[in-house]
């Protein structure tokens, strides 16, 4: 191998080409295309196994070089002469690439010493850290009115009622049917049938609304009348006890 370099050192086909041009000390504007192409092909043959993608970039350039070489060997037609040197595009690319290589070297110099500069973390004095800007109530309440507050309160209360009691979610429509004597009769009978002491107070207390209390009371009276249940006074508790007559 004539060239003592590793292809790994080259970042790409343009880099390799620039290296060859410099090594041969030839003019970038007048590249001896045959010589450079030959050396380029030699170099990529010597390349260690690389992945296809990486290799393909070098191969595309090889093809371009061969194209240019062929083009230059061919006798020129008049039209082509007008179009200029077949190397032109390659030269332009090489020059642009070279520009950034030089700028990159420039950056390397500028970088020196920057790791010796040390910055601070934010360190606000207590007085500043503790400070809270005063609230601008004018801005904050710009669009607020007492009337708006009222509407919001209305909505909240409606939402609240809807949420807390299913009965009220159908507000106004079926309220009258919400507590029916028949339901309460079944309810009381069912309760009393369960084992344990059944408190008159707690049974009524379990009712959610005044209406429910009234209906439940009526249901108890009805069941006493029909003989389904009996009521005994529980003076120690200031209460009555309900018992199932069937038991």
């Amino acid at each position: 191998m004539e060239y003592n370099f590793k292809l790994d050192n080259f970042e790409g086909p343009l880099d390799l080409l620039l290296h060859l041009i410099e090594k041969n000390k030839v003019d970038i504007y007048d590249i001896p295309i045959a010589l450079i192409t030959e050396q380029y092909l030699e170099a990529i043959h010597a390349m260690p196994e690389k992945n296809l993608e990486e290799m393909s970039e070098f191969l595309i350039m090889a093809a371009t070089l061969l194209d240019i070489k062929a083009k230059m060997l061919l006798p020129r037609e008049e039209e082509e002469v007008e179009e200029g040197d077949p190397r032109a595009e390659l030269v332009a690319r090489l020059l642009e690439y070279k520009k950034y290589k030089l700028l990159s070297a420039e950056l390397r110099q500028m970088e020196e010493g920057s790791d010796r500069l040390v910055y601070r973390k934010q360190d606000l004095p207590q007085e500043v850290a503790k400070y809270k800007p005063p609230v601008d109530l004018d801005g904050l309440l710009k669009n607020e009115t007492a009337e708006k507050l009222r509407r919001i309160f209305d909505e909240i209360m409606k939402r609240h009622l809807d949420r807390t009691d299913e009965v009220h979610s159908h507000f106004g429509e079926i309220e009258r049917e919400a507590v029916q004597i028949g339901d309460r009769l079944d309810y009381v009978k069912e309760k009393v049938r369960r084992p344990g002491r059944h408190s008159f107070r707690s049974l009524l207390g379990r009712a959610a609304t005044k209406l429910e209390i009234v209906i439940t009371f009526l249901a108890i009276l009805e069941l006493i009348k029909t003989g389904d249940i009996r009521l005994t006074e529980d003076s120690t508790r200031d209460d009555f006890t309900l018992e199932d007559n069937a038991a």
Binding site: E127, P133, L140, A146, L161, A207
Partner: protein, 198 residues
């Protein structure tokens, strides 16, 4: 570079306080020389009317910004973001205005979600304040609206808040009452049921 400059750079970059003896070792001078150096730097800050000051803390040194910068610094650091009245905060204000005095618990029951943050914001805004404590377990704080609230909403007093529609009002009032009764009843019943179950 002078010793003062090195000391300045070190204290600047370290941020925290640095022990005199550590400084001496790093700067390869005696602790006494560090002291002299720090004194000179401190003086140069004060005499030169700089924005930095040097503090001596026991046997350590630290830099801090000069007090005179605070006002400007506050403007920069706090970046006064105009708070906005969020729906949550607005709703909470409405509840407090109409149902005052109320506890945070009351508000939560009505809104169905925690209102801690919203109440705190309103207190911060000066629209709501403590009005005492409820005589109940935990003695929760009662909240009500402030004079500032009345001024801002151009209301003459909390007793003349705009009324709800007469119908709506009656309906709601009635329901709220029964809700309260129900809640109390349920509570009592629960207590009794516990007894029964035992």
């Amino acid at each position: 570079m002078t010793r003062e400059a090195v000391l300045e750079g070190i204290l600047f970059a370290m941020g925290t306080s640095v022990e005199r003896d550590q400084l001496a070792e790093a700067m390869e001078i005696t602790p006494e020389e560090v002291e002299a150096c720090a004194a000179a730097l401190k003086a140069s800050y004060e005499e030169g009317d700089r924005g930095i000051r040097l503090l001596r803390l026991d046997n350590a040194y630290q830099l801090c910004s000069a007090e005179g910068c605070y006002d400007t610094l506050i403007k920069l650091a706090s970046r006064p973001k105009q708070p906005v009245l969020t729906d949550v905060v607005r709703e909470t204000l409405a509840i407090i205005a109409y149902k005052q005095p109320v506890t945070k618990g009351d508000i939560e029951r009505i809104r169905g979600v925690s209102s801690d943050h919203a109440v705190n914001r309103l207190v911060e805004f000066g629209l709501v304040e403590e009005k005492g404590r409820l005589n109940a377990p935990g003695r929760p704080i009662l909240f009500g609206t402030t004079e500032e609230f009345l001024r801002r909403f151009q209301i003459e007093g909390c007793d003349v808040l705009p009324e709800l529609d007469a119908d709506q009002l009656a309906e709601i009032e009635a329901q709220v009452e029964s809700e309260t009764a129900k809640a109390e009843a349920t509570e009592r019943e629960q207590q009794e049921m516990v007894q029964v179950e035992i």
